[in-house]
């Protein structure tokens, strides 16, 4: 396969590869997507993340052409996409359950798109061979899909899509049918494959860890609307909403009242730079530490709480805390000895991220 320059800078890309403009989709009375606008840069790995029913698969199907938007437009490379039938779009899909053609051999499955495009026989043969080599499935060229394991079918589905050199590859929860170990393995393979071929990936998943591990950017969908679009680091470190903070990783939410630069909640108060009025703050469990008695930075916020539960998970452990006024909090600390009773805890006010409801 030709190798396009990998990891192109998003700013330099100029015009986006895919431009979803104010797209809505209804199924009868059910509004599945509400005015979603999204731009995807060339070479980007963008993940649509959301719970089931959030509209992520519907958005993917609109881009593929299996559904028509109720309102809005979809553009790709300056060409309007949404009036075109699927077979006229330079987009290929890896389906959730692979959708390999059961009556065709692996090589014939991979050749399907090239044959449909009227590619020369000799070229089909070389490209199919290369595509199968890319996913390390050459030796299965003559097998039928039902003779392959889930992971192998997954590779064939990838090869079948990538062999057509689409501008955009759509992946609909492609790893969800695999068991945990294989899924981790395929994740890293998928990531390196994407760098190698330089094709833009639009990936759908409900698994936030998978989204974090793979994506350049994550678009979090909730009830058919975009909640936040940002890089994994940014979306984790600076969640815009309480929903984002809770969906991606775990968090503690504090409802505070700010007056004259002091945030006040039931458990404690601390100086902050927020405007006066009510606010919602998110503090990640790993930002909270047990006070060791050593000197603390000036912005440290102290509180004492009783450890209710200690959940061990290897390198770290999760503490479930109950403060004096009854608030339940979670702290993630490096694993150490068994703890119980009341302790003093501390976190930096810089780790208290204001979020919207």
């Amino acid at each position: 396969m030709t190798t396009a320059p990998s990891t192109p800078s998003k700013a330099a890309a100029g015009r986006p590869l895919l431009d979803v403009r104010a797209v809505s989709k209804r199924f009868g009375a059910r509004e599945v997507l509400r005015t979603v606008s999204l731009e995807i840069a060339s070479g980007e790995f963008l993940t649509l993340l959301g719970e089931s029913g959030s509209g992520k698969t519907t958005l993917l199907r609109l881009v593929a052409g299996f559904e028509q938007p109720t309102a809005g437009e979809i553009w790709m490379h300056g060409e309007r996409l949404d009036p075109l039938p699927p077979y006229k779009r330079r987009v290929n899909t890896v389906f959730q359950h692979y959708a390999l053609f059961p009556h065709l051999k692996v090589s014939e499955n991979v050749a399907y798109g090239l044959a449909a495009a009227g590619t020369q026989k000799a070229e089909i043969a070389t490209r199919v061979k290369d595509a199968l080599a890319m996913v390390r499935m050459e030796e299965y060229a003559t097998a039928k899909p039902n003779q392959l394991s889930g992971g192998q079918q997954q590779r064939v589905a990838l090869a079948r899509a990538l062999v057509n050199r689409p501008k955009l590859l759509l992946l609909d929860e492609p790893l969800s049918a695999l068991d945990a170990n294989l899924r981790k393995e395929m994740q890293s393979e998928l990531k390196s494959l994407q760098r190698e071929v330089g094709i833009t990936f639009l990936f759908v998943t409900h698994d936030q860890e998978e989204a974090m591990a793979l994506s350049d950017r994550i678009a979090l969908l909730r009830h058919g609307a975009l909640e936040q679009v940002a890089s994994p680091r940014e979306i984790y470190a600076r969640p815009a909403t309480a929903y984002t903070a809770q969906f991606i990783g775990q968090t503690n939410l504090f409802r505070v009242t700010v007056s004259n630069g002091v945030a006040q909640c039931e458990a404690f108060s601390f100086p902050c730079s927020l405007p006066d009025g009510p606010a919602l703050l998110s503090v990640r469990p790993e930002a909270i530490a047990i006070e060791a008695g050593a000197q603390q930075p000036p912005d440290a916020i102290r509180f004492s709480a009783v450890i209710r539960q200690q959940i061990y998970s290897g390198a770290t452990e999760l503490l479930e805390l109950r403060t004096v006024n009854g608030t339940t909090l979670r702290a993630r600390i490096p694993s150490g000895e068994s703890l119980s009773g009341a302790h003093d805890f501390v976190f930096s006010s810089a780790d208290a991220i204001p979020v919207r409801e």
């Binding site: 593929a64 052409g65 299996f66 039938p85 699927p86 077979y87 006229k88 987009v91 290929n92 899909t93 389906f95 959730q96 359950h97 959708a99 053609f101 059961p102 009556h103 399907y112 798109g113 449909a116 495009a117 039928k144 039902n146 079948r160 899509a161 057509n164």
Partner: protein, 281 residues
């Protein structure tokens, strides 16, 4: 799960039924096919004379050939009608699917005889069709060739067996996972290419089953030729019927029956192999 004796016990009625009403009569008929009849008495002298007659007397093999030709025409016509209908219902009928499906099935609840007589009324000299042609001044006298001809038999059998062709084809089309159809379009195949490269191959088991139904059922049909076939539309089952009836030549009738039975079994075996070859479960 269940004990051997229990399994044996519950299969006794079925085995008994099969022996009494299937194997025993066939054995009897098989024996008859090697006997002969003289002066209205069946002689138990074993010989192959009946089979020789079947292949040497042009009357029999010509009727056999005509029967096969009619059955083949019915099969072809029923496929041409049944496949597009099944395809439309399965892929394009939308919310009317259930209703249309029922409409295809409903004629099966109407007696075969009633449907046969209906064709008599339609094709006869004073029938609906001739009346219509004369009303439009396309013809000036009734076309008598319509009724009592192989054409009328083919028409009636096609009408009767098209649902039998439709059903297995529809079932196999419904069985095709829709993501496969989407995947085909996604890979750049036009609807036409998707049909020929994906849908048709995957529906072949249903198509073969439907074609087998139509062919085998038409091959053994005797009511349609009786009702609308006339002399030129006589089929092999009518010959068998008369041999067992008025002509009183059971041995020859049995020989023809055995021949058709073997032919049909061979056909069913072939169809089953083809279906297996093309199924991908």
């Amino acid at each position: 799960m269940y004990s051997r004796s229990y399994k044996l016990l519950i299969s006794v009625p079925a085995i008994f039924w099969v022996i009494l009403f299937l194997l025993f009569p066939y054995a009897l008929m098989f024996a008859h096919s090697f006997w002969s009849v003289r002066d209205g008495v069946i002689l138990h002298n074993w010989n192959f004379a009946n089979y020789a007659t079947l292949f040497q007397n042009p009357v029999y093999w010509q009727v056999l050939l005509r029967t096969a030709r009619i059955a083949a025409s019915v099969t072809l016509l029923a496929l041409l009608l049944g496949y597009p209908l099944a395809y439309f219902l399965s892929f394009h009928a939308g919310p009317r699917k259930e209703l249309l499906y029922q409409l295809v099935i409903v004629p099966l609840w109407v007696s075969y005889l009633v449907r046969g007589y209906a064709w008599k009324t339609i094709l006869g000299n004073d029938g609906v069709f001739n009346g219509f042609l004369q009303y439009l001044h396309i013809t000036h006298e009734p076309l008598s060739a319509l009724l009592y001809s192989p054409f009328a038999v083919v028409l009636m059998l096609t009408h009767i067996y098209t649902p039998f062709v439709f059903l297995p084809i529809y079932a196999s089309l419904e069985h095709i996972p829709r993501p496969l159809v989407e995947a085909s379009g996604d890979l750049g195949a036009s609807p036409r290419a998707t049909f020929f490269r994906l849908i048709l191959p995957l529906s072949l088991p249903g198509l073969i089953a439907g074609a087998t139904f139509a062919f085998v059922l038409s091959l053994g049909d005797f009511l349609a030729p009786l009702l609308v076939g006339g002399n030129s539309g006589t089929m092999i089952a009518n010959i068998v019927q008369s041999l067992f009836g008025a002509a009183y030549d059971w041995p020859l009738g049995a020989a023809i029956s055995i021949f058709i039975l073997v032919f049909t079994l061979a056909l069913l075996g072939l169809a089953q192999r083809l279906e297996k070859r093309w199924s991908f479960e």
